[in-house]
């Protein structure tokens, strides 16, 4: 059994990076995982098409909060194009542990919020849902 509670994940949960809010962010988005109430809020400052500053806040389980912390580190300095290209697979790779089906939504919450922030309000279909709903 692969341990999703690795030390570095717990460290990100206990001492999250880029935690907080920005005064006048270029982009702001937030969302909740209706199943467990996990919440992530994301503030981004973008200049020259690149993320210059990023902060997150929220509450919830170790997986959702640690992922958000790791994601903010990863996207600092990234272009909007690179943000758009991020996929659930990138998130799982970044986490470096296998996340069971029951907890994947926790892990993908911050990506969902990020994509909402750069694409506008949630329209009812996101990449992770698309895969869930696909009929082979």
């Amino acid at each position: 059994m692969d341990d999703i509670y690795r030390q570095y994940i717990l460290d990100h949960f206990r001492e999250p990076h880029n935690h907080g809010t920005l005064e006048h962010p270029t982009l702001h988005a937030s969302d909740t995982n209706p199943l467990c109430g996990d919440r992530i809020e994301l503030d981004l400052n973008v200049s020259d098409d690149r993320v210059s500053e990023v902060r997150f806040s929220g509450r919830g389980c170790a997986i959702s909060q640690a992922t958000a912390s790791m994601l903010t580190e990863r996207i600092e300095g990234a272009t909007l194009e690179e943000l758009r290209a991020l996929t659930p697979a990138d998130i799982f790779e970044m986490l470096g542990v296998e996340v069971g089906p029951a907890r994947q939504r926790c892990a993908l919450l911050s990506l969902r919020v990020l994509h909402q922030g750069i694409q506008g309000p949630y329209t009812g279909r996101w990449s992770d849902d698309d895969e869930d709903d696909a009929i082979e």
């Binding site: 059994m1 999703i4 509670y5 717990l10 206990r14 199943l35 467990c36 109430g37 996990d38 509450r59 919830g60 389980c61 170790a62 997986i63 069971g100 029951a102 907890r103 926790c106």
Partner: protein, 443 residues
């Protein structure tokens, strides 16, 4: 099937120091006197309990969500489906008559289980939710006027809140809520004041909170509601599986419950109501079986209970629920409740010894076999995942009771719940797994 000798010695707290040594934590000074509580029902009756989860024996502590099924129930359904299945109330052929008889026998059995006056008063539904919706549509439609009041409580499951909110919206009625005290019990003074002030047409209240395990003082609540002319619907989803239920002694007006929480299959539940109330209510869904006569101009309704059972019902599942009721009756509902209280008393003590653990709800004598808790700042979902790795199945989240969670000011709890097959050794496994979770999260 249940064996009479096994059934007599459960629900006892015995002092067996040899087993205590293997189940209790070694740093407890009182190891030798730690009680062991055996399963009330023979565990071998429940095939699923032999499963391993993540390499560990399953400790199933989520019966409040749905109970496991004994072989007696699974076999009864299997046997019926293999030998006597056909649609009911239809054909004038032997098989259909047999199936109809089995379905109606199950109804009678379930009606007897809650001491209904007549099987006519017992309507088969899909579950508690559908039973409550039935009343919130048909009774409410016929009886509620703009400005009328409904009185619920802050500790209701969403399925005893949302149908009433919808009904209130449709007719322009208002919904009020009896508050919950810090101990997790109903505020009875506030209840009386709300009855006085709003003279509600109906009070809807749970028999036991699915989050806190709180047992509500139903006889008192019902008498006071009747005194101001209100009807009372009891949400028995957590009552019928765990407590002796006598709807006539309770003197309630409607009683709703689910088969799947009382050792029966999912897909079948029931609504009991006073015959005169049910007679006066318009039908719920329209379709086959619920009519007496249909013309192009309209229809007249079938007799009770079929008036409320449109379409082909859950026939096999009804037979399964009948078998579940037989099984519970053999165990004895007094003893089911005593077993769960003994486990709860033990578990509360065991869990209280864990540093950082917060338990919600009243003391053991005023609750059933449900314990909601949080551990330090570990989120309930992390806790459930960590416990699952030890084979322990608990529920995590808001338990479909968001107003109560709001009242307790907690986003989510983990919840352990007990039933006839639960043992104190499983409670020990839970406690040990929680200790491990503390270590991982460095609490």
């Amino acid at each position: 099937m249940l064996d009479a000798t096994e059934a007599t010695h459960a629900a006892q707290v015995t002092d067996t120091s040899d087993t205590a040594a293997t189940t209790a934590r070694s740093d407890r000074a009182d190891d030798a006197s730690a009680p062991t509580i055996a399963s009330l029902a023979p565990r071998a009756d429940f095939p699923i309990l032999a499963r391993e989860i993540n390499g560990k024996p399953l400790a199933f502590l989520d019966s409040a969500a749905s109970a496991q099924k004994p072989a007696a129930v699974l076999d009864a359904m299997n046997h019926f489906a293999r030998t006597s299945y056909a649609n009911i109330h239809r054909g004038a052929y032997t098989l259909s008559e047999e199936a109809t008889r089995a379905y109606e026998r199950a109804r009678k059995n379930v009606a007897k289980f809650i001491n209904a006056r007549s099987a006519r008063e017992l309507i088969f539904t899909r579950n508690t939710t559908e039973s409550i919706n039935l009343v919130a549509r048909t009774w409410a439609e016929a009886n509620l006027r703009p400005g009328d009041a409904l009185l619920l409580t802050e500790m209701e499951h969403h399925s005893n809140i949302v149908p009433w909110q919808l009904a209130a919206q449709r007719v322009g009625a208002e919904v009020f809520y009896t508050p919950v005290t810090d101990e997790g019990e109903l505020d009875l003074a506030a209840y009386e004041a709300l009855l006085e002030r709003h003279t509600p047409k109906l009070v809807a209240v749970t028999q036991m909170s699915n989050v806190l395990g709180t047992l509500t003082p139903l006889p008192e609540l019902i008498a006071k509601a009747h005194a101001v002319g209100a009807l009372v619907l009891v949400d028995g989803a957590q009552g019928a599986p765990h407590l002796p239920v006598d709807v006539r002694a309770l003197d309630c007006d409607f009683y709703a419950f689910s088969g799947h929480k009382m050792l029966g299959p999912s897909g079948i539940g029931a609504l009991w109501g006073r015959a005169e109330l049910l007679e006066a209510m318009p039908p719920f869904m329209g379709g086959g079986d619920m009519i007496r006569e249909v013309t192009l101009a309209g229809a007249t309704w079938n007799d009770l209970p079929w008036k409320f059972e449109a379409g082909t019902p859950a026939i096999v599942e009804a037979v399964g629920l009948g078998a579940a009721v037989d099984y519970l009756r053999q165990l004895g509902m007094e003893r089911v409740h005593a077993h769960e209280q003994a486990l709860t008393t033990y578990a509360l003590e065991r869990l209280r010894a864990i540093p950082g653990l917060t338990i919600y709800g009243p003391p053991a004598e005023r609750r059933g076999g449900v314990i909601s808790f949080t551990l330090g700042d570990i989120h309930a979902h992390d806790l459930a995942t960590l416990l699952d790795r030890e084979g322990v199945a608990v529920r995590a989240g808001h338990h479909c009771a968001q107003p109560l969670m709001e009242r307790l000011q907690v986003a989510a709890t983990a919840r352990a719940s007990f039933y006839v097959y639960t043992t104190s050794a499983e409670v020990d496994t839970l406690a040990e797994a929680l200790e491990r979770a503390r270590a991982i999260f460095a609490l």
